[in-house]
């Protein structure tokens, strides 16, 4: 595990309860610079909740979450995004009525929106701004082979394309850390291979760290440098993919206790 001075993401002994239910218990997880870490565990283990905590949907009851050394736990989601964390969702949450390119443009513009009156009065500055925005959006879409769908309403896209669009949109926010929530769900083998390549390329080209929730073990084993395992809200194992595969606690969590 390579850790330059400060980890990109530091989830430190975090706890969260919903009413009486303790959903996350003392979870500690670190993601280093340009690392690709996997987060796995049975359904309901709390993986998406960890994402939600990281992106500010929930504030932890105990513990602290830091991005590049600065505390982000307790901040509002859009602030956290601007600090450098972007995500995709387990159930695709695109802006259906917006076109493909608008989905990306809306995410691109969030920190560089011109003063309102300029937009309304259609000034030249605004026209130039829109042109730049469109070019950058297209460049991003090109990376994901989505330019041909540019003017299509996002809700009309085929499933695989929607997943790619969600990742493109997340990248538009220029993150240091990308959280991917089951990006391979519902894909066939070919698409999965493409996705794995894509994620690895992204990580290297754009200098970002990735935290990945996935159920498909081939994907996890294929690209993750390190894997953490969650069960009933607790981290039960962490290590290299090969180690995790053989860890008895992990096997028990997925398959149940062995009956001798």
């Amino acid at each position: 595990m390579n850790q330059k001075a400060v980890p990109v993401l530091d989830i430190d002994n975090v706890c969260l309860s919903f009413g009486g239910l303790r959903a996350i218990k003392n979870v500690t997880l670190r993601v280093g610079d340009r690392e690709l870490v996997g987060l796995i565990g049975p359904n309901g283990a709390g993986k998406t909740t960890v994402f939600n905590l990281t992106t500010g949907v929930y504030a932890p009851d105990e513990g602290r979450i830091a991005l590049k050394g600065e505390t982000i736990s307790g901040l509002r989601p859009h602030i956290i995004n601007r600090r450098g964390i972007a995500r995709t969702f387990q159930n695709i949450r695109l802006w259906g009525e917006l076109t493909v390119i608008d989905n990306v443009r809306a995410a691109l513009a969030r920190t560089t929106t011109l003063p309102l009156w300029q937009a309304v009065m259609r000034t030249r500055r605004n026209t130039q701004f829109e042109k730049d925005l469109t070019e950058r959006a297209r460049a991003l879409l090109a990376n994901f082979d989505l330019v041909r769908f540019e003017d299509e309403r996002a809700r009309n896209l085929p499933y695989g394309e929607q997943r790619r669009l969600e990742i493109a949109r997340a990248l538009a926010t220029d993150p240091a850390l990308l959280l991917l929530d089951e990006p391979a769900a519902g894909m066939n083998t070919g698409e999965k291979t493409h996705l794995m390549d894509l994620i690895q390329r992204l990580q290297q080209d754009r200098h970002i760290s990735v935290l990945l929730i996935e159920h498909d073990m081939k994907v996890v084993m294929g690209i993750c440098e390190r894997v953490a395992v969650l069960d009933y809200g607790e981290k039960i194992a962490e290590g290299r993919p090969e180690e995790i595969q053989k860890d008895p606690r992990v096997i028990e969590a997925y398959l149940g206790a062995p009956t001798h």
């Binding site: 919903f18 009413g19 998406t48 939600n52 949907v57 929930y58």
Partner: protein, 299 residues
């Protein structure tokens, strides 16, 4: 001091009526997540049902308490039917629709009932028959009228009846299941449509009772009488925690007392304003209501 206690009694009587209407709102919301704007107008229909029952069936003769009970039953039947029809022909089609559409449809039905009422019943106020002679009873420092007693007793009886249905019958359990999750309940073999209809009928019957009781209390009835009480009862339901049955009762009582106190101690011009103040306060500070549990919504 006596004025205070007197106000409390008045407030509780008024609150009991709001509670009866609020129950309908809360049950429907619990089961459909729909604010049935038309509910206040069902209450109005109940009052008119009592009026026409008296004039058509009794021919204007006064049959005392027995007559009142029969009129009550009649009104409840009429409104139950009305509730069923509304649900069946309008709301059932909107179960999967966008929330705004359901809201607007409910408003549309409310307007329809009000305007039909004006057309059919006539817009001018009518005198609700006094089924029972008004008398008052003085107990120590307070005076309570027999009408208020009737209101309170009827409300208690109906509420107990409702509690029994919801907690001790199969249908009641089904109602609770459906309000929790349509899909899960359906998978358990519950006929959602029937449960929803039943809930509507039940709520409408309670509204009808409220209509009759109000008629006794304030003898002037007119087709638009459902608007304000409907709104107040709705706020009561929200105050208690919408979807929560004991909450509706608590909310109703609080609303009744608050209104009576405002009129008594402040000024009658603020009678309706207090409703909105309570509404906004609840929504801003405790949107899940007094008896609702503050939920952290799972994503």
């Amino acid at each position: 001091m006596e004025q205070f206690v007197q106000q409390v009694i008045n407030g509780v009587s008024l609150g009991a009526i709001y509670a009866l209407i609020a129950l309908g709102y809360t049950m429907v919301y619990g089961i459909l997540r729909l604010i049935n704007f038309a509910h206040g107008d069902v209450y109005m229909v109940g009052a008119f049902a009592g009026y026409y029952c008296f004039h058509w069936f009794y021919g204007g003769a006064n049959y005392g308490l027995a007559g009142l009970l029969a009129a009550l039953a009649f009104a409840m039947a009429v409104c139950g039917l009305l509730g069923y029809v509304i649900e069946r022909f309008a709301y059932s089609r909107l179960r999967k629709a966008a929330r705004l559409n359901a809201l607007i449809t409910a408003i549309g039905i409310s307007l329809l009932l009000e305007n039909l009422g004006q057309l059919i019943f006539g817009a001018d106020p009518k005198d609700f028959p006094a089924f029972v002679e008004r008398t008052t009873i003085t107990v120590g420092i307070v005076t309570i009228s027999n009408i208020q007693l009737i209101v309170l007793i009827t409300t208690v009886v109906l509420t107990l009846g409702l509690q029994y249905i919801v907690h001790r019958t199969k249908m009641g359990t089904a109602m609770r299941a459906v309000s929790f999750s349509h899909d899960a309940a359906g998978l358990m073999g519950i006929n959602i449509g029937r449960v929803i209809s039943f809930t509507f009928v039940l709520g409408s019957m309670l509204a009808a009772a409220a209509g009759i009781l109000v008629g006794l209390y304030n003898p002037k009835i007119e087709p638009l009488m459902g608007i304000m009480p409907g709104l107040k009862a709705f706020v009561a339901a929200v105050l208690g925690g919408i979807g929560n049955i004991p909450g509706a009762i608590l909310g109703g009582l609080i609303m009744g007392v608050a209104e009576t106190f405002t009129v008594g101690y402040l000024s009658s011009t603020y009678r309706d304003a207090i409703t909105f103040v309570i509404l906004v306060a609840v929504l801003l500070f405790r949107p899940t209501g007094l008896l609702g549990t503050p939920q952290r919504t799972k994503f």
